[in-house]
């Protein structure tokens, strides 16, 4: 899988294999924290981490709804890009991403990684350990987290200003 700039306005992620495509199309579900208090908490951080309860309460009331809307919008942008610009067969596909959508992709991919890691309790130790060769949900979660991270890295590199 690789990402490259087609022109000033468009990136293309290509060489998406069957399994990679299957994971990518599950991004919205992976990013959804519902049903896991840990995932919901990770996507709704407080302002002071509990040091100033009054400020945290105001934050929860006034800012968190805006952030939730931002996260939902990012996931929706990715979903629309997948639906609207998925190219090629399932075994060697590509997707075109407007450069203006790259930030939304990075946020949606991060949302999915963080929600999965929180839902499946992937600690720092678990993240650095080589995943065991089995199909436990936690192992699969680690696979998704690594895959979405790899895609983020490709987008960061492809989206960099060439003049910098």
């Amino acid at each position: 899988m690789r990402a490259r700039r087609l022109d000033e306005d468009t990136l293309e992620i290509s060489g998406i294999g069957f399994l990679e495509g299957a994971i990518l199309w599950r991004l919205a579900a992976a990013a959804d924290p519902h049903g896991s208090a840990a995932a919901e908490e990770r996507l709704a951080s407080s302002l002071t981490g509990g040091a100033e309860p009054g400020l945290d309460e105001e934050w929860k009331e006034h800012v968190l709804p805006e952030l939730k809307a931002l996260f939902a919008s990012a996931v929706e942008i990715v979903r629309m890009d997948l639906v609207g610009s998925w190219l090629g067969p399932g075994s060697d596909a590509a997707v075109r991403v407007p450069v203006a959508h790259v930030e939304a992709w990075l946020i949606a991919l991060n949302q999915a990684r963080l929600a999965l890691a929180a839902r499946h309790k992937l600690t720092e130790k678990a993240m650095t350990r080589r995943p065991p060769d089995n199909l436990r949900p936690r192992t699969l979660a680690r696979l998704f987290v690594d895959f979405f991270g790899g895609l983020q890295q490709l987008l960061l590199e492809a989206g960099e200003d060439p003049a910098r």
Binding site: S45, L47, I107, N110, A117, T128, G149, Q153
Partner: protein, 93 residues
């Protein structure tokens, strides 16, 4: 004049406002390159400065990335949370 009044109010608020630190905390999931790019985007830091803060977060568990008035500190936290970094504000000692 209304303009003058607003300026005086701002001055008073600033004078009363204890400086606050914007602190970014370590997270085992966020990519190091992602964190550095977020610092560049939000604070306009050079790549070198952004990477210095990113490494501080990674190695020491936290980094104070900005210090100043509360209102602006909260704005930065909102942006950092928008990129899903773990970040809080704290009063300076």
């Amino acid at each position: 004049m209304p303009g003058t009044l607003v300026e005086q109010e701002t001055e008073t608020d600033d004078a009363l406002d204890v400086p606050w630190n914007v602190v970014v905390h370590n997270d085992p999931v966020n990519l190091m390159s992602y964190v550095a790019q977020v610092f560049q985007k939000i604070f306009g830091y050079s790549r070198q400065r952004a990477e210095k803060h990113m490494l501080e977060v990674h190695r020491q568990g936290r980094s104070i990335v900005w210090t100043g008035g509360r209102e602006r500190a909260e704005l930065y936290i909102q942006q950092l949370h928008g990129w899903l970094l773990l970040a809080t504000i704290e009063r300076t000692a």
